[in-house]
């Protein structure tokens, strides 16, 4: 072949090299500029794995708002060890595969110090092994029992929200004494729902009750009436917990099926998170009971800490956004992000955290924590952290629907939520 004109499409060595140089120059632009001063003024980067899309989107929106509010508060007070914190958010699509990739991005692309934030248990279970491989602390806000069960690893901790096993254990005596002993359970068919199934059945048997029927529902289901005829007729209490974008359909169809008659209802607020209690079709819920991680409606004797938390996140006394009363928060869960960030701060300060080299020291410092007082940092209530199982324990609340609000009727003590350790993560090597 003779001399040919350089093609526009086929790259040669020179174009590739200049292209690379350009990319390199771009990445050296602001944000990537190494800080001129010592390392100590560089922000601490916290990778925030957030469910922006997918079935967890409503939770993701509020986890994000809570996290931003907590980060702003920490930075106002001088950051951590004199360094500001920076939240690096990445959408995981509520998908376990994507979750693991997001952790990878935090470690390799954003050079985050720690990662945090995930709610949905299948995403946590899918991501945690990668966190251990990347040797990056992974603080989850998930409620699942998978942390304390020993299924995960030393890098995964849950210091800001209690787990399903302790929650249902504290609920069972109340259900058996006040509502009825014959229970039918409706739950989502994945790890989180299985925790409910296993531990509530166990706790109910201990409280002298029995489970008549288990009805698992795929979390992506959109129509529910077809599941309800399977509820046995001698059911005294219907225990319901549902997640995903179709929760409103779920409770509405439950109402259409029972029409206010039928068994007592005991629900986990997950069935109604981010759903307006005043929605049409929910009137039948009046008088039914709910577990709430943190009561959505401000109570008559609301603590100053909860009021402070509401104000900072931008939530009114009805648990809705101050800017849009139709935008209902996921109030029973999102405090976990707030508390977890404060635990990370306390842990980093105790460990004298300087950079990724101190990650093991950070985990040891968090493992050494025990009691956390009811405070602005822990607005949901006092807590006790178990360093061996990497799980925190706290009070649980039962509220009763009263017209279009929910009032606190029972508070389970921290002691009621304890169970025997199933793992000792501190014996695992880093």
């Amino acid at each position: 072949m003779t001399k040919s004109k350089p093609s526009l499409i086929t790259p040669n060595r020179r174009t590739i090299l200049s292209g690379l140089a350009a990319t390199g120059a771009a990445s050296a632009m602001p944000g990537f500029v190494p800080y001129a001063q010592a390392q100590s003024s560089e922000p601490i980067k916290i990778g925030f794995q957030v469910h922006r899309t997918g079935i967890g989107a409503a939770y993701g929106r509020w986890y994000d708002r809570t996290t931003q509010a907590a980060a702003a508060l920490i930075n106002e007070a001088g950051g951590i060890n004199g360094r500001p914190i920076e939240i690096v958010s990445e959408d995981d699509g509520t998908d376990p595969k994507r979750g693991a990739e997001v952790l990878e991005k935090f470690a390799n692309q954003h050079s985050c110090d720690v990662s945090f934030g995930t709610l949905f248990s299948h995403v946590v279970i899918g991501s945690a092994p990668r966190a251990a491989e990347l040797k990056m602390p992974y603080f989850v806000v998930s409620e699942g029992h998978h942390v304390a069960s020993g299924m995960l690893n030393r890098y995964t901790l849950q210091p800001g929200i209690t787990d399903v096993k302790s929650q249902v254990q504290a609920m069972a005596p109340f259900v058996a004494e006040n509502l009825g002993k014959k229970v039918t359970m409706v739950y989502p068919d994945f790890a989180f729902g299985h925790d409910h199934r296993d531990y509530f059945s166990e706790a109910m048997a201990q409280a002298g009750g029995e489970i008549l029927e288990l009805i698992p529902i795929p979390p992506t289901e959109t129509s529910f009436v077809k599941y309800f005829p399977k509820i046995p007729r001698d059911t005294e209490v219907l225990y319901h917990v549902m997640v995903g974008p179709a929760v409103l359909t779920f409770v509405k169809e439950l109402g259409e099926f029972f029409g206010g008659q039928g068994p007592e209802l005991f629900g986990f607020i997950d069935s109604l998170e981010a759903v307006d209690m005043a929605s049409s079709g929910l009137e039948f819920l009046d008088g039914s009971h709910f577990w709430e991680g943190n009561p959505r409606y401000a109570q008559a004797d609301n603590s100053a800490f909860d009021t402070f938390f509401r104000e900072k996140v931008g939530v009114d006394a009805n648990g809705a956004s101050v800017s849009d009363p139709k935008d209902i928060s996921t109030y029973a869960h999102m405090f976990g992000c707030w508390e977890t960030l404060h635990v990370i701060k306390a842990g980093m300060e105790a460990a004298g955290y300087q950079g990724p080299g101190d990650r093991a020291k950070l985990i040891e410092a968090v493992e050494a924590m025990t009691t956390m007082d009811h405070s602005n940092e822990h607005p949901q209530g006092p807590k006790i952290f178990n360093g061996k199982t990497h799980q925190v324990f706290g009070q649980q609340y039962i509220t009763k629907v009263n017209g279009d609000r929910m009032d606190l009727v029972h508070t389970a003590s921290i002691e009621e939520t304890f169970y025997e350790d199933e793992v000792d993560y501190t014996t695992q090597s880093f």
């Binding site: 989107a57 929106r61 795929p218 129509s223 077809k226 974008p245 259409e256 029972f258 029409g259 929605s279």
Partner: protein
Amino acid sequence: MLALIEGLVQAAVLSLTALGLSLVFGVMRVVNVAHGEFFMLGAVIAWWVATLVGTNPALGFIAALIAAPIIAGLIAVITDWLVLKRINYDPEATIVATIGLLYILQQSVLMTFGPDARPVEAPFNTRLAIPWIENTDAGWALYWPWGLSTTSYKLFVIVAAIALLSLIWYIMSRTKLGLILRATQLDSETALAFGIPVERVYALVFGIGAALAAVAAVLIVPIQQAHYLMGADPLLLSFIVVIIGGLGSLRGTVIAALIIGMSDGIISVFFTPTLAKIMATLLVAMVLVYRPQGLFGTRRV
């Protein structure tokens, strides 16, 4: 009875959606992978219109019922003109193009409408209940509320779907428009030779197909909720229905939708919903093996 009603509601919505898909394939030979997204678009537009109209749910619903199919249909006509026409309705290229369209529609809705599920209020929703009657030792006993409990709106969905299907049947078999459509379906080149503006017919058919999916979505959205990912299930089920019923056959589509909808309702209630899905897929496999042209399809030489 509960199983029957649930099954019928599903069959009603499904037959409308599948009919749109079947029509597009029958006339244009285009496998519209983005069909589920037009369904989703219908639901989202319904929410938008209902919110815009405001307080009165009935008024909002009627406005949505008119506006959603028109808007979805117009979007479809525009995509037909912008995309499908440019690639000469080549069967393979259109599959790829509609896959692209699927993502464009889905992600645009995600960017504008957001990732949340939003409800549309039903125009009327009275709860109807009949107790379960059982002969026990103590004689006949009534059990509340384990018998039939449904809402007036669900019955309306079934009636509305039957009315719409009859209308389409009438258009297809009794009007000039139907004649043109059937002529184009039989042989587009000959139709062109006889002075039928085939290109305009194609655009119209693509629009009608999308509008049918949108109507189905408007009907279902007070029961379920508008969500940007809701298009996947109807798409899959429509394909199942169309394969069983025979591509391009109106009668086959409706009967297959009844079979799938009813079996899903009944099997779900008495066994498990997973088994219902397994049965539907098995049925598709059987039809493909023993009657590749579908139950009512005509074999082409």
